[in-house]
């Protein structure tokens, strides 16, 4: 039996994501390896894990246009699909996950659920509390230009940083 996070890691990698595991204490280093600046982002809700100074929160449209990386929390993840749930109401989570070429999602290991039934149930809680969210799996892509192209309207590269002790 592989662990939930192990399964998530495999599936997300299959979907084209880079997955990095880290302890909260080493978060800043792990993040630095995945970030290309300038970076925009949305605040992280995990205890003693926060965005470094260089990240612009509450970005304006021009900040978004200029950013190379967007960093957002993942509300939770679905192991079987390698999907992360990104909030799109309030705050700049959605814009930061969609406009820059690279998206870094920060996920607490305890927030990984197993299958889609559990994923939709958890999503239902967000929805019923008045929130919007998206299951993002891998980078944006299109097959509409005669071949598969990674990087359509959304990011071209996605990294998930899994914080193992959160």
């Amino acid at each position: 039996m592989t662990s939930l996070v192990g399964r998530f890691e495999c599936e997300a990698a299959d979907a084209g994501c880079e997955v990095r595991r880290t302890l909260a204490a080493d978060f800043a280093d792990a993040l630095a390896e995945s970030v290309e600046r300038p970076a925009v982002g949305a605040p992280l809700p995990f205890t003693s894990v926060s965005l470094p100074e260089y990240v612009t929160t509450d970005p304006t449209p021009s900040d978004l246009d200029a950013a190379a990386t967007g960093i957002t929390p993942a509300q939770f993840a679905v192991a079987e699909y390698g999907s992360v749930a990104i909030r799109s109401t309030g705050g700049s989570d959605e814009a930061a996950s969609l406009y820059p070429e690279r998206h870094v999602a920060v996920l607490a290991e305890s927030d990984v659920v197993g299958d889609m039934t559990a994923g939709i149930e958890r999503m239902g809680k967000i929805v019923r509390a008045g929130g919007d969210a998206v299951f993002a799996t891998g980078a944006s892509a299109t097959a509409d230009m005669g071949e598969l192209v990674v990087g359509a309207h959304g990011p071209r590269e996605v990294t998930v940083v899994v914080v193992e002790d959160r």
Binding site: S83, D132, T142, G146
Partner: protein
């Protein structure tokens, strides 16, 4: 943007020319893409251990939702209004467009950006808005391509599936004259993204569709890959979502099986890059590039629920299933005809593929369905692929039947009048009457053979047949045998199994009726003889009673009443044999599919059940006999000991595969020492009468060509269906028999 609608009726010649043109210009791209999706689908659903359960669950949710539709509409209205949005229930396209134009007018909209939505294609909202001077941009890249090309989508999920990278590059060069040359797919994507980013930034209204709408929470679920839907919403402060009423699901949690199935069934991905759950208006900040601010997210939201014929579909016992469709595109990608010709031929004003017949009949009317309904040959390959279990061929048959009753092609009635004792009115298209009554033709053909065969080869007769009946003169016609299978059987004195005689059969001797289908009895008599010898070698006392046509031919032409009458006659002829506990063994898979599947729609339940339970495909039966102690040495395989490992290519019949019966032939051939290779092609392209028809001959040959290529390295090929044998024989220029002729003992 509607597909070119025809003034008056297109002739067969014109239709053939249109198909030929599409095969040449779009066929290659469509084939590469749809076959890719189809192969991906097989892999992606195989990963699901509970695939069948998920399909059942999805089906049950849809059945429930559609049965309670009026209630769900009221519920979603309340929820969305409580959330702060507006719901407009539009009766038809004009009503929806009027409302949307008002919303855009109120928002002083100069530019509207859209994400992909077939429902907005259905109402032609772009035309309506553009007539008001509003700019409309499709932000889904595939939709953008067809918008720029001023074409209609050729596929419900991948609208530009008919375009290659090269044709898109030419299109963009001509239209936009870009600063740097656009060569790779990456270049094209980057160019389109930048172009559209400006439009999105300028837009005043964002328009989306919805794949599903949860009535209890007012949530829209959008299944996309590019990320354009959310951008279109986030950049504007007015969001209009357009969805057919059938998109409503009772509860948010009902989404689960659909999220698992929709992408797998469509393009073969386990999930698309983005599955977005929006419960508008929501408070995501509105991005304003002019002011360079991320605003408050105080958004106007309008949910336009479209009826446009759906209430009538819901009341239609035969077509209601159409509303369960989640537009995944599995039935397009798994269809051999669609794979070659695409949605510009196999599609109506808006929708494409097999299920489009139901959609078009429902939302645009019978004229639109009439244009392309014949492309569904009833091969049934889509049936098991549909995630909500819609009987797509049946929907096509029903619509064909209704169209038949409206027809008025009477010019050459004298030709078929005597031959066609059908139940349909004399208004039925002659070509359909001819093929639908093939058993009568065959009876006359055998009775008068060889004269009938000479006659059929006479140029004048072929020309007349082509002109009047649309029978393509490039096809070899079946050659009728003077001695039918039944006559041969009688003249040899019936079965030769000991212990069986006309007075009764000794206890312990297994008895079977070999069903004398029209082809086996009149044309492919050798395979019937081989079947008799095989069964007898395995100790079965065979009978070949006079059982009439199963009704397959009539059903395939949409002549449902004739098929029903024939099914009743066939059932009564079989009844005494079933009473006497005899098994029914069937050579022709399409007739077996009648007994096993279609009769459930044509006969009372218990009667259909009894026939289904007691009928067997020939090799399924032989396999069972061998498993139960039958002596394989009695078959020809035993004589071939020295040749073990002999290569043989086997093409199973489409309907046989849908019933899961391909493996028996493979298993028996392997047990007898053959090294079997099987085909992947979904259908041979002949599909009963389809390949004989003047207007479809070239498409049929194109579909067959894929199959021929698969067997290019095989010295000998066998096939289960008569039409598959004929098609492969024509393509290989070599005899392709039924596999029974390879295993039957010689006399």
């Amino acid at each position: 943007m509607s597909r070119a609608t025809r003034e008056g009726k297109e002739t067969r010649e014109e239709k053939a020319a249109r198909i030929r043109h599409l095969l040449a210009t779009e066929g290659e791209s469509v084939e590469r893409n749809t076959k890719g999706f189809n192969a991906g689908r097989y892999d992606a659903v195989r990963e699901l251990s509970d695939y069948e359960e998920l399909k059942d669950e999805a089906r049950a949710i849809k059945e429930d939702a559609i049965s309670r539709l009026p209630e769900l509409i009221e519920q979603v209205r309340e929820t969305v209004e409580e959330n702060g949005g507006t719901v407009y229930l539009a009766d038809d396209a004009a009503d929806a467009n009027r409302y949307i134009r008002e919303v855009c007018d109120d928002a002083d909209a100069e530019t509207v950006v859209k994400s992909k939505s077939m429902t907005t294609e259905e109402i032609d909202v772009n035309d309506a808005l553009e007539a008001d001077g509003t700019e409309v941009w499709e932000t889904d890249l595939g939709e953008f391509v067809v918008q720029v090309a001023d074409e209609a989508p050729s596929h419900i999920v991948a609208p530009a599936v008919h375009k290659s990278r090269e044709t898109i590059a030419e299109l963009f060069e001509a239209r936009f004259d870009p600063d740097r040359p656009l060569e790779t797919a990456d270049d094209l994507t980057a160019f389109a993204r930048e172009f559209l980013a400006e439009k999105i930034a300028d837009a005043d209204v964002g328009m989306t569709g919805a794949n599903f709408v949860a009535a209890d929470t007012g949530t829209l679920a959008l299944v996309t890959s590019e990320g354009n839907a959310r951008k279109s919403v986030a950049a504007t402060d007015t969001h209009v979502a357009v969805a057919g009423v059938e998109k409503l699901l009772p509860r948010f949690e009902d989404l689960s099986p659909f999220v698992e199935l929709i992408a797998r069934s469509g393009t073969g991905q386990s999930i698309t890059s983005y599955v977005t759950f929006l419960t508008p208006p929501g408070d995501a900040p509105t991005l304003d590039w002019d002011a360079d601010t991320a605003g408050e997210g105080d958004r106007d939201f309008h949910l336009v629920l479209l009826d446009n014929g759906r209430t009538d579909l819901r009341g239609d016992d035969q077509l209601r299933e159409t509303l369960y469709c989640i537009r995944c595109s599995a039935c397009l990608n798994s269809c051999a005809n669609f794979q070659h010709v695409g949605g510009h031929a196999f599609g109506g004003e808006t929708y494409s593929g097999g299920i489009a017949t139901g959609w078009e009949a429902g939302v645009h009317g019978m004229d639109s369905a009439a244009e392309f309904n014949d492309f569904c040959t009833g091969c049934t390959r889509c049936v098991n692929q549909c995630p909500v279990g819609i009987d797509i061929p049946w929907i096509n048959t029903v619509v064909r039947d209704r169209l038949n009753r409206e027809g008025d092609d009477r010019n050459f009635d004298f030709l078929v009048e005597g031959l066609t004792p059908d139940e349909e009115s004399g208004r039925l298209d002659l070509q359909k009457r001819f093929f639908g009554n093939f058993s009568t033709v065959a009876k006359w053909g055998s009775a008068t053979a060889p004269v009938s065969n000479w006659l059929a080869r006479t140029p004048g007769v072929r020309a007349l047949a082509e002109r009047a009946l649309g029978v393509d003169s490039r096809r070899d016609l079946p050659e009728f045998k003077r001695e039918t299978l039944r006559k041969w059987f009688e003249s040899r004195g019936g079965t030769r199994v000991e212990g069986a005689n006309s007075g009764g059969t000794a206890a312990g001797v297994r008895e079977a009726v070999l069903y004398p289908d029209t082809y086996t009895n009149h044309v492919a008599v050798e395979r019937g003889k081989a079947a008799v010898r095989t069964l007898e070698a395995l100790g079965v006392a065979v009978r070949i009673p006079d059982v009439p046509d199963s009704g397959r031919a009539a059903l395939s032409q949409g002549m449902v009443s004739s098929a029903e009458a024939q099914a009743r006659a066939c059932a009564s002829a079989l009844a005494p044999h079933l009473d006497a506990d005899r098994d029914v063994v069937v050579v022709e898979p399409s007739d077996l599919a009648m007994f096993r599947a279609d009769y459930r729609k044509l006969l009372p339940e218990t009667e259909a059940e009894r026939i289904a339970d007691n009928s067997y495909e020939l090799f399924e039966y032989v396999y069972g006999l061998l498993e139960n102690g039958g002596d394989a040495d009695a078959l020809r395989g035993a004589e071939r000991e020295t040749e073990r490992g002999e290569q043989i290519g086997y093409h199973s019949h489409c309907q046989q595969r849908t019933l899961g019966l391909e493996r028996y032939t493979t298993a028996v051939l392997e047990e007898l020492g053959y090294d079997v290779s099987t085909s992947d092609a979904e259908c041979c392209g002949m599909a009963g009468s389809f390949g004989y028809k003047r207007e479809y001959y070239e498409l049929s040959m194109e579909v067959g060509e894929s199959l021929r290529e698969e067997f290019a390295g095989d010295a000998q090929v066998v096939a289960s269906g008569t039409s598959c044998c004929e098609q492969l024989t024509a393509l290989r220029d070599d005899d392709v028999p039924h596999p029974i002729e390879r295993i039957a003992p010689r006399n």
